[in-house]
Structure formats: C-alpha cells, structure tokens
Symmetry: C2
Subunit: 383 residues, 2 copies
C-alpha cells in the first residue's frame, strides 16, 4: 500500500486471537482500522474487540487463505502456523508481515540460532542432536531444546546428569550450553516496511521457577548504561539479520561474566513488552500495526518506569474464572488492570496482567509484589 492509500478503509487480518491479538486489535481499532481475527476458539479474547472473526485453526489452509484474501494486510500474534499457504499467497503479492519465510525460520529454534550465529550475533554454544550421544557433547548439566513448537517453558528442559538422558525430549532437538545467568533481559525491536528501526528500552524478566513462565517484567532493567547500550545494539543486529517487518522480541541472557547472548526471538508482540501500553509513547501493539501498514514507527520513549506482573491461573482451580482481590488491588496507585476475557482458567494460564507506573522502579516493584499477593485468579472448580 502506498502513502496515499485510504487508511480509513484499511482491513487488517490477525492470525491468533489471544491476549496479544486482543491488544493489537485495540490499537488497530484506535487508529480506525477494520480488524479480522483468525482463531479456532469461539469468543476468543481478540474476537470480542474486533469487527470479524473467522473461526478456524492455524493449520487450516482454507481459513488462512480466506483471511489473507479478505484483508489488506495480514500479521501474527503467534508463530505456530502453517506457512506453506502463506508463502504461496505472499509470493503472489499479498501483504503479510513478518513474511511467512521469516515465521518459518523462527519456528525452528535451531535454524534461528544458526542464522544469528552465522551473522555474528552472539548466542550460547549449541549443537544439533542427531543421535543420543550428542546430548553429552557439552557434558552435564546441559539444556535440551525442541527445535519446533516450544513456548512458555514447554519444549525446553535441563539434563542435570548423564542419568537424565533417558528422560530426554523425544523429538528433533539441539543442546545448548548452560549459561551462568545473571539476568534475563528482553528488548522489543520494531522494523517497518521502509526499513526504519526503533528499539524499546531494555527490560528485565523474572520467572516463576515452578513453570518457567515469565512472571514479572521491570522496565527499565537495573543494568549499567553500557550493558543497556550493548543489549540494544545486539538486538538490532539480530533483527537486521532476520530482515523482517513487524515487532520482534529479543530475549537475552546477561551472563555473570557480563556477556550478552541472544536466547531467542519472537516475531510478534511479546509478554515482555506489555508494559509499553502504559509506559511508552507508542506501545508495541500500536507499533506493529504501524510497521505492517507502511506507516512511520512511533516514538519508543519510556514515559515512566514500570513493572508488569502476569496474572496466572491459580494452582488447584479450573473453570469459569473468579478474580479475587480486585477491589483491594485497584487501590494501589498508578496500577492498570488488564483481564483478557478468557472464559476458562486453569493452573498457570495467562489470564491477565497489571502494570504499575512509578518514578522509582523499586517502588513500582514493591507495589507490583503487593498486587501479586492480593490478586488471585481462581476457578469455579477445585482440581
């Protein structure tokens, strides 16, 4: 689409209707665009706030084609999709960003790592697992990762010793050296059709150890300016290596020795960038819309320090969600409450999040911990 395209008519298609698609749709609607969601779940989070819902799965070629045919621009909230039909449509001139070729590359964590490595982007040592003996190539403990299909801690495990080899993932995989991690960082990078690149502040991710799901995000990260600059530089290099259009979340390891290594890249808005809705001049969700619709990227300026916490379904419950403590939590100043409209909770399911702004990041963290203590997402059924 050129600059004189009638933007008041723009039809955007989003593959995936979870919380990321929901907030993307919010922002696309803010700008006046028409939004169609492709998702297999009736009344999914994004469909509730969009113009049209195509009920279909992410491997349903017919429905994927329908989405692309009916809209001006197609983008993604998730990378686990059938790329074959999308590549065909892309080759025929349909606007799909990031390109399905990039999505396909990123789907395979091993190929992703190989590309970054080849382009000089620092990554942990890694090795393809072709036979069982390869698992022991770096000694133990070692990290084993499935090449395909992993997310939210799934498809990743530590082999502590030789004895764990019998429990290894029985799928195409690779091993990665166990990095001595000081902090896990993340940087959101946007790149638009014209090649303009904008980079968000470096944030720090804290994890729920029980399930390895990102739990708390601090923006900005408590790191030196030098580390922050270097992290942003590496993240931009990684995105240049991919040559994609959209929003990319670069997850980084800061090692105890002060090295910065790229862990992996998500080719879409990311949990580590939720804070941008309240804390940055342009959120990651608006930024992707700008990027894929040939508009200039917005300012990534941090307007206020912020801490984001995920609201995960409580252990021991499932069914219709019940938000415990909302009244008390909303007493906390500068707290913004997000709930995704999912009609079913289960343990550790991402049900919502809150973002707390404070000029003092430590104060923000303290308020966030308080909110985390108060807010519990329980369910109609004890399990």
């Amino acid at each position: 689409m050129d600059k004189n395209f009638n933007y008041s008519n723009l039809k955007l298609g989003i593959i995936g209707g979870g919380q990321l698609g929901r907030i993307m749709s919010h922002k696309a609607k803010k700008m006046g665009f028409h939004v169609t969601i492709l998702d297999p779940t009736f009344n999914c989070p994004a469909a509730q706030v969009s113009d049209k819902h195509i009920l279909g799965g992410f491997y349903d070629k017919e429905k994927l084609e329908q989405l692309v045919q009916e809209t001006d621009v197609t983008t993604f909230e998730l990378e686990h999709v059938d790329t074959s039909i999308l590549k065909e449509l892309f080759d025929h001139g349909h606007i799909i960003h990031p390109s399905p070729y990039i999505i396909e590359l990123i789907q395979n964590k091993y190929e992703q790592k190989k590309l970054l490595d080849k382009k000089g982007v620092p990554v942990p040592a890694y090795k393809d697992v072709k036979k069982e003996e390869d698992l022991a190539a770096f000694g133990f403990p070692v990290i084993q990762k499935a090449k395909m299909g992993g997310y939210d801690g799934k498809g990743v495990q530590m082999l502590k010793s030789e004895a764990d080899v019998k429990n290894a993932l029985q799928t195409e995989s690779f091993i990665e050296e166990l990095v001595d991690i000081d902090k896990e960082l993340a940087v959101i990078v946007a790149r638009n059709i014209e090649g303009q690149i904008k980079c968000y502040p470096v944030v720090e991710m804290l994890f729920d150890e029980r399930v390895n799901i990102c739990d708390i995000v601090m923006a900005p990260a408590k790191i030196s300016k030098e580390t922050a600059d270097k992290s942003r530089e590496i993240s931009i290099e990684a995105i240049k290596a991919l040559d994609g259009v959209g929003i990319f979340a670069v997850e980084l390891f800061l090692t105890k020795k002060g090295e910065i290594l790229v862990n992996e890249i998500a080719p879409r808005p990311h949990n580590s960038g939720h804070y941008t809705v309240e804390a940055c001049a342009t959120s990651q969700f608006e930024q992707i819309i700008r990027a894929v619709t040939n508009l200039p990227l917005g300012s990534t300026k941090l307007i206020s320090p912020a801490v984001m916490i995920n609201l995960l379904g409580e252990e021991g419950y499932e069914g219709e969600p019940f938000i415990e403590g909302i009244h008390d939590a909303l007493e906390i100043p500068e707290l913004s409450f997000h709930f995704y409209g999912k009609t079913f909770t289960k343990p550790y399911r991402k049900m919502g999040h809150v973002t707390i702004l404070d000029d003092d990041i430590d104060q923000a963290l303290q308020k966030a911990m308080q909110a985390k203590d108060i807010l519990k997402i329980k369910g109609s059924k004890k399990i």
Copy 2:
C-alpha cells in the same frame, strides 16, 4: 454489586455508541468486562469494539429497558436520552450511574445552573426567559441558551444588539451575561459509589471560532497554581452539589478579572479529557468504568504534559472519509492517532483526534499545530 462480585463476569451497558462509548468500551474490555452498546446506528464506533449492539434510539423505552435488564451496570456516553423509563428501572434497584435523576437535571441547562447557584458554586449571572422582553434584561450583547438539547455550539448564540432579538432561539431558553473571558478551562472530576472523589489536572480549551467546537486542549492549562487550585476546588464543589457517580466534565470560564465561573457540566467522559488516555495514569474512560462498577478510583496523575487536537471533517466534503496526511503526521514524535471508524464524514463532524506528549507543553502545542496543518479529513463527495 459488592466487593466479592465476580468481576470476570461483569456486564456493562453503555447508552450511546459514538467515540466516547468506543473508548469507554476499550477500557471496559481491557478490564475483561462484557460490553453492550445501545445506539441507533448500525456499525457505530463503539459497536465495532464491543460484545453486543442493541440497535435502538435513545428515546426508545423498550430498548433502554432491554439494555438495563441485560446488564449489571448501565452508564452513558451522552445525556440526551429518555429518562422516564430509566428512572423507573433505577427505582426498582437496577444499577444506573450517574442516576437518571441527575441526567434529567443536567439535560436542562437552566435547572443545572440554578442548582449550582443555590449550592454556592460561582456561575455567570443568568435569567429565565419567559417573554421576549426578558432577553434585554442584561442589556446587549448577551448570550441566549436553549434550556434543552444543546451541544457542540448548538443551542447557544450571542444577541449582539436589540436588533438580534428577532433572531432569538424560539425555544425554552435563558440568558447569561457575556463574560469577559480570558481562558476557557475544564476539569474532569470522578466520583465513585463509595463517594471517593478524584480530580484531573485543569486543562485549557481552544475553540474553532467558525463553529464554536472545542478544537485544541492543552494539559495542563497555562495558569497560576492559585487559579489551578481554585478551579479544581470549584469543580469538586460542583460535583458534590450534583451528588452523582461517574465522570463529570466541568467547563469553566476564567474571566479577565481572574474570577472562575462554572459554565456547564457534562455527566460523562468529555472531549476535554481525551488527553488522559495517553497522559494520565488512569484515563477518564477507565475512571468512569471503575466509578460505576464499585471499584476504587485510579490515580489521576499527569504522567506527561499533552496537547489534544480534534480531527474534524473538512468543509466542502462529505461521504466516505479519506485521511489526508496520515503518513507525514505520524512522523511527529510522541503523537498518538485516534480515528473513530465513522463511515461518513461531513463538515466539522468529529472524526478522530490526536494527542501529543512532550515534557514541554509549548513544544507539544507546536507539534499539534503542525499535525493540524497536515491532517485533513476529506470525503468521497465534494459539496
């Protein structure tokens, strides 16, 4: 609803589906609520982002009753509605905020003024017009206002001299002294069910003289701290006088002598509070949702100075809108673009707005003027 109500299930009804209802729905959906819109226009701005649309007018008692019966809480984006059925439902215990009795009072600008006056809130001198001679009671020039139905400069006119009396509004009206205005100010005040009150910063409104529609809003207003404090104090007094629950926009005159007078009150989110979406910890649109659903009010802290400009339909065009200059305008840093998804433009129709953040309010204003020069909402048909 009590504090242990299941908020994950909350059904909110909004009377009115324009841009105010649209952003209210955005914020209610952010918090996970189910939203139903009542509006007579198919595919109206708010219906595009809500769960359900009841197609009906604001004086359609059956549809108003349906909305209230189907939802847990009903609120308003506009005050021009039939209150008789709403009062009945309210009296039977349905939750409607602000109460239809307050809406009814505010609908009549003369009664509104009388109440404020009685409660000691400073207002311009005013007088009921019972017969034509009353129009001359304050001499000329004088302002004549229709008691009912006015908005956006409609229902208000200046009678410059005796000769204008023949052009006077032929409806129930009152006159108001012509105030020697230095600035027009506005303050958004929120009050929740528990009686908690929060007040936003004082803003300055600039008007498009041609049609008397608010054009530009500067937050904060360039006034002394003393004037700001006094403005907030008077605005809070005005809302206490009304005894309402929700969001109220208090429009004020700052006279050349330094007096502060209440012009009028809107019992709903207001154009002068659009800036709160980007610039405050809690937007007016989230605040009304919190207020009417028995949640604590959020912080009204100004995170950054901001200037908002309305995007009005260009003179000389109507029909399907075309946004001219969007690409160039979005190059302006810290600019947030809102377009309401209206499918038909006409001269001076509110089609969208932009908000610009800048630590320096004069810089923000300069960028806003630049955006105003670049962005034109034209239509498919020249008129």
